[in-house]
Amino acid sequence: MRSATPTGGDAGLEDSELVRRVRAGDRSAFAALVRRHGGALLRFARLFVRESSAAEEVVQDTWMAVLEGLDGFEGRASFKTWLYRILANRARTRAVREGRSVPFSALAETEGEEHAVDPERFDARGMWRDPPVGWTDETPERLALEAETRQVMEAAVQALPPAQRAVLVLRDEDGLETEEICNLLGLTVTNQRVLLHRARTRVRQAIEEHVRGER
């Protein structure tokens, strides 16, 4: 979007510098932070509240809390970590207030046992009977760029059970570290690992099914 505030010079600055400028009342630095983190923050909010306008409200509340708390932010954690923690707290409070709060740890428990690959595809010795289908191009760039494959991936992510989706989005789409994900979602490391594994293998499976369907 075009904004009344030019941000050209700020876009390349580190978060810590932008935060320093925001404290001093620099509007364009605030706009730069919002642009840098806004999309990922909205994606994160949607893990807690799926309805689009409600997720935007949570994002808005989060930024307001950031401004209110800015003087207390000491920079011990990164700005992004701090931002995400604020959002997770806000989203949880909201969910509790609206009486639909199911922690991710509880969701993780209900998501049950599942296999990365249908057991029928292996023989009695556990060797491939029906091996994986080759993809024309297995590079991440091609997968993400090709519109159809991208849609398949996005649909597969949306179809994941909530706890799996949350872990996958934070780990693979957003690149957060395991420990941070566990903190934000209230999961144990073991849970996080299992959920990530199931989620990734489901998305891979969706691409394979798409490729098979094309043949």
Binding site: M1, S3, A4, G25, R27, F30, A31, V34, R35, G38, G39, A40, L41, L42, R43, E56, V59, Q60, W63, M64, L67, E68, H115, A116, V117, P119, F122, R125, G126, M127, W128, P131, P132, G134, W135, E138, T139, P140, E141, L143, A144, L145, T149, R150, M153, V157, L168, D172, E173, G175, T178, R193, L196, H197, R200, T201, V203, R204, I207, E208
Partner: protein, 79 residues
């Protein structure tokens, strides 16, 4: 020797660097010899990396404007 089925269950632990040295070696030994599992591991890794290339959703211009408006109020209240 790990089975192909086991490889498909360990692939994330392998890719995330969580396997012990011994398990890592066993894993690598298997994929060194098994073309199908090599392909499977490559596909899971490519899937994870491709997810990292998906653009995040866009925030609406209205939200951005609203935030900037609120920033001004915040700034005024501070000074």
């Amino acid at each position: 020797m790990l089975t192909c089925k086991e490889i498909t269950e360990l692939v994330t632990e392998y890719a995330e660097g969580n396997l012990s040295l011994m398990d890592r070696l066993r894993f690598q030994m298997h994929i060194g010899m098994c073309r199908n599992c090599r392909r499977y591991v490559r596909q899971v890794k490519a899937t994870a990396a491709a997810l990292g290339l998906l653009p995040p959703p866009e925030t609406s211009p209205d939200l951005e404007q609203e935030l900037l408006r609120r920033f001004e109020s915040w700034k005024k209240a501070r000074s």
